[in-house]
Each structure stands twice: as C-alpha cells, then as structure tokens.
Amino acid sequence: MPDIEQTKAKARRIREHALRMVHRANASHIGTGLSMADILAVLYGGVAKVDAANPRDPDRDRVVLSKGHGAAAFYACLAESGFFPVERLATFCEDGTALAGHVSHHVPGVDFSTGSLGHGLSLGCGVALGFKRDGRPGRAFVILSDGECDEGSIWEAALFAPHHRLDNLVAVVDYNKIQSFGTVKEVLDLEPFADKWRAFNWHVEVVDGHDHAALAQAFAAVPAVAGRPTVILADTVKGKGVSFMEDKLLWHYRSPSAEQLEAAIAEVRGTE
C-alpha cells in the first residue's frame, strides 16, 4: 500500500517539474499533466511493480500512458521514481532529446510510445493476455483520457478484455471533462460512462482522482472480481493545483509565462 504522505509529496514534485518543463519548452498540454499527477504519484508510489534498478525485468508491470500528450508529467514521474536523473527533464523538447512532447519509448522507464489517442488500451490487452498465457504475475496499467474514449479502438479493447478474462488489466480514465476543442459534454458526451463499462463487463471503481487514499484503495482492490478487468474512473480537474489553470481549455494549449510559472509553482507547493 502506498505511503500517502510520500505520494502527495511526489505529486507536488511532478506538478512542479511539469510546469517548469512546459514553460522552458514553450510546450502545450500542462492541463492534462496536472490533471493526472495524483494518479501517477499513487501508481508509482508502490502500486505498479516496477523497479528503476531493474527496469527491464520481464515480469514487471507495464504502464501505458495512452494519452501521450501527458508526456511532461509522465517523464517527471519516471525521473522522480529513479529511472533517470531529474536534471534530464530540462531537455524536454530540446534539440537532440529523447524526451519528446508525446511519450517516447526511448525514455528510460517507458515501454510504449504514444501520442495518437486510442492505442493504449489495446497495448494493455496484449500485455495482459501475454502475461496470462505465460502464467506470469504481471499486470498492465493503462491511463486513458476522457476525450480519447471517443475513439472506437478503445471500445474494441473494452469488449475484448472481459471476454478474455483479463483481470490483470487496469484502465484508469483521467475524467477531467474537457477535451481539445470543448467540454466532453458539448463535443461527445460519454455519460452514463460507468454504466457503459459495466455493460461491457468491467469492474468499475469511481473515485476522486485527486484523493490519494481513494486511488490507493481502488488500486489495492485489483482484481476485485476474478476474471474481470478493472476500470478506475478518476474524477479529476484539468489543470488541478493551479487555480488559474483549473478547468480551462486554454491550458490545453498555452505555456505559462515566467510570471505565471512562479505563481503556479507557489500554488503547487502550497497544495496539500
């Protein structure tokens, strides 16, 4: 079980790194990084069996960040988890870097490159199926965004996983209710979202995606029902932790100025 004080501290550091990275690189997508910082911190705070000292362990759990535009926060989490020095985060999007603006498997700790939405759940199905067939204990954790669930491929994988009793597969949806060009409600409503997953025979956990204890509990319950994959619908706020970024489409695109960065970091450090 994760140590909640530690995961909270980790989430703060992820947010701070991600803010600095997108500021320095003048990059987009800070909103999604802040939205999932708590999910990442808990997942990498003792849930996922991954070890920076043995990063290619064949039995390690696989983590897929299907919403690859969350790269900054993901790299920050991996650096904070010891996969590479945090100093390397400063190369984000710089000439000659492996730390691309969308997740690259050339970065230590990353298994799958992503960035085109809707690929991750199928990757997770393959990993989970492979582990099962090999009789090995590994699991697949896939982090999805809500807008991403517009893609048909997500629902092909959603249909597949319970049929093949992949209870070693865990999907987490960062359900922040905003996509690229509007709110989820305006663009393509997902509700009743939990019911859709239930109807597809998934075990569904609905949690506050910024509540570390609740997230830890949901992860700990896996597999809650033998033979069923788990989906954690994490209720989140896009831009969480920085008041002027919260729930704003603009921060899917904009990079904070030096002044905004300072204000944002002060807020993030004060967050409990």
Partner: protein
C-alpha cells in the same frame, strides 16, 4: 497556411451551403470563425477519425462537399480504410485536410510527424494530393478544391509560413508553378520546402549554378510535362520534400524518370531517409536529418554535366 485555408474556405462556404467542415476535436484558435459564421455547416465530431471519414462519405452522398480537419496522420492513416473504401472508391468530394504536414510538429515526437502521408494518400486510386508551398498556394488550392469533383488530400503546414509568391498566382491543380528560372539544375519542391528550395537556388546562383525551381504543389496527378521538360532542359533534377523519399514526391517523379528512354538529366531525391529515429528537437534540428540540399547539388552536378 492554416489561416489561408480557413479564410478561403469560409469565403467560399458562405455562398455554398453544400460545403461542410468537420473536425476531429482540433482547430483551437483556427476554426472558431468558421463555426461562428456558419454553425449549420460545421461540426466537431469528437476524437474519432474513423467515424468522421465514414460520416463524410455519408454526407457526400447527400450532396455535401465535405472538408475534414485534423493533424498529420490522424485523418489519413488512422482511418485509411474509410478514406480508401468509403470516400475514394465511391469518388465522393471529400477533402481530407491535415495540418502539421512534414516535421512541423518537430519536438512533439514521431506520432506527430506526417512524413509518410503523401505516400499513403498517393497510393489511393482517384485521390488528388496537394501540398501547397506557401499561404498563397494554400488559399488558391482551397478555392480550387471547392469546385473539383472527387476526393482530395490537402496537406498544410502550421501557421506563419512566409509568403513566397508576391503577386497573384496562376494556380491550377495538377500544374506545377515555375517560381524561378535557371539552366543547370531543377529543384522540384512540394509543400513548405519551397522556401528552402528557393534559398538554396539563390545561393547556388551566387556560385554560378543556375537553378530552376518548380513548386509541385500537386503530387497527384503529377505534372509530368513539367518533369519531362526539366529532365530535357537541365542537367540535374532534384525533388525536395519534407517526407520519406521512398514514397512521396521523389518516388512519384522517379516513376516519370524511369519511363524516359534516351538521354535525360541526372536525378536525385532530397528528403527524409527511410529510417526510424529516436531523437527529436526543433523544426530546424529535425530538418538536419535530410542533410544539405546545396551539398547534394554540388556532389551530383559535375557528373550530371558529363552526362552520367
């Protein structure tokens, strides 16, 4: 080019209720003016490119001329079969518009590099493939696409590309624009590489090498006459594209070159090698993967002049 496109489309669509613009959840700070002016001719379909393309064919069946908008590979490869079967096979007037062609989303990583899109789209029977060289060409292409029958792919860069053409242009789909004259070498450029081709031509001119520059905005149907003329009139023909050289403009021109019997100019392709890469960076950094066009001309021209 994005701006030239959306302004041109809005202009045309005002008098053409049959024109519809679909986006797969992209176009922030670009498409708003279209949506605000013509909400009944606009729809954000969500992050669902396959559904968008199938729907576009359905709308086209009901008499619409459909423009679909997305980034790089999402409206082409993600939904390739919808484009091939539902749109191309039926010959529907759907215009697949993609922004971020080439390496414009440089540091964003491989998933966002549209460097095989021309090749993939050009492989489809009935598909017209256009990569404008500057905003003026983008505007002219948009206008032309409103009236053309059958499907088309319009490959745009991002925003803020420099204007190459000073005055009005005589734009026609399938006809190259001769942007510069020169007697020694012909640079055949497609898309935003036009600026680089012209810069290179100017530097070559200072060294006494005359370079003709063609803007081959339409890769399919290819202006074969312009290629044949260049092969006859200059000693070296080089295709210039921000795309994999194995399948894009270079490959298309190579097919023309291969069909010529008897003496002709030497031929080279400038673009991205057919290789994977793990490092990214800014646009200029990414373009370094293609090498230096002037050096390529210097290396190839002496032998080309000797006729071999």
């Amino acid at each position: 080019m994005r701006t030239a496109f959306i302004e041109g489309l809005l202009e045309a669509a005002k008098d053409r209720p049959d024109i519809v613009l679909l986006t797969a959840d992209l176009g922030f700070s670009v498409l708003e003016k279209f949506h605000d002016a013509l909400p009944a001719q606009y729809l954000n379909v969500g992050v669902a490119e396959q559904n968008m393309m199938g729907m576009a064919a359905g709308l086209a069946d009901l008499g619409r001329t459909v423009f679909t908008y997305s980034i790089a590979n999402f409206p082409t490869m993600r939904c390739l079969e919808q484009v091939r079967n539902d749109i191309c096979y039926h010959g529907y007037p759907v215009r697949v518009v993609s922004v971020g062609g080439g390496l414009t989303y440089a540091s964003q990583g491989y998933t966002h590099h549209g460097v095989e899109d021309i090749g993939v789209m050009r492989a489809l029977p009935g598909m017209t493939v256009i990569a404008p060289g500057d905003p003026a060409e983008a505007a002219a292409a948009t206008k032309a696409l409103c009236d053309m029958p059958g499907p088309a792919y319009l490959r745009l860069g991002k925003a803020g590309e420099p204007k190459v053409h000073a005055g009005p242009i005589d734009f026609a789909i399938g006809r190259a624009l001769r942007v510069r004259d020169g007697a020694d070498v012909t640079l055949v450029s497609t898309g935003g590489m036009l600026v680089y081709a012209l810069e290179t031509a100017e530097r070559l001119a200072k060294e006494g090498i005359g370079a003709r520059v063609l803007s081959m905005h339409t890769v399919k149907p290819l202006d074969e006459a312009a290629i044949v003329a260049a092969l006859a009139e200059t000693a070296l023909v080089v295709t210039v594209e921000e795309h994999n050289v194995g399948s894009g403009l270079g490959a298309a021109v190579a097919q023309v070159v291969a069909g010529i019997d008897g003496p002709r100019a030497a031929f080279r392709r400038y673009g991205l090698p057919d290789e994977r890469y793990s490092r990214v960076g800014g646009h200029a950094y990414m373009r370094e993967m293609m090498g230096d066009l002037r050096a390529l001309v210097h290396a190839a021209l002496p032998r080309a002049r000797r006729g071999g």
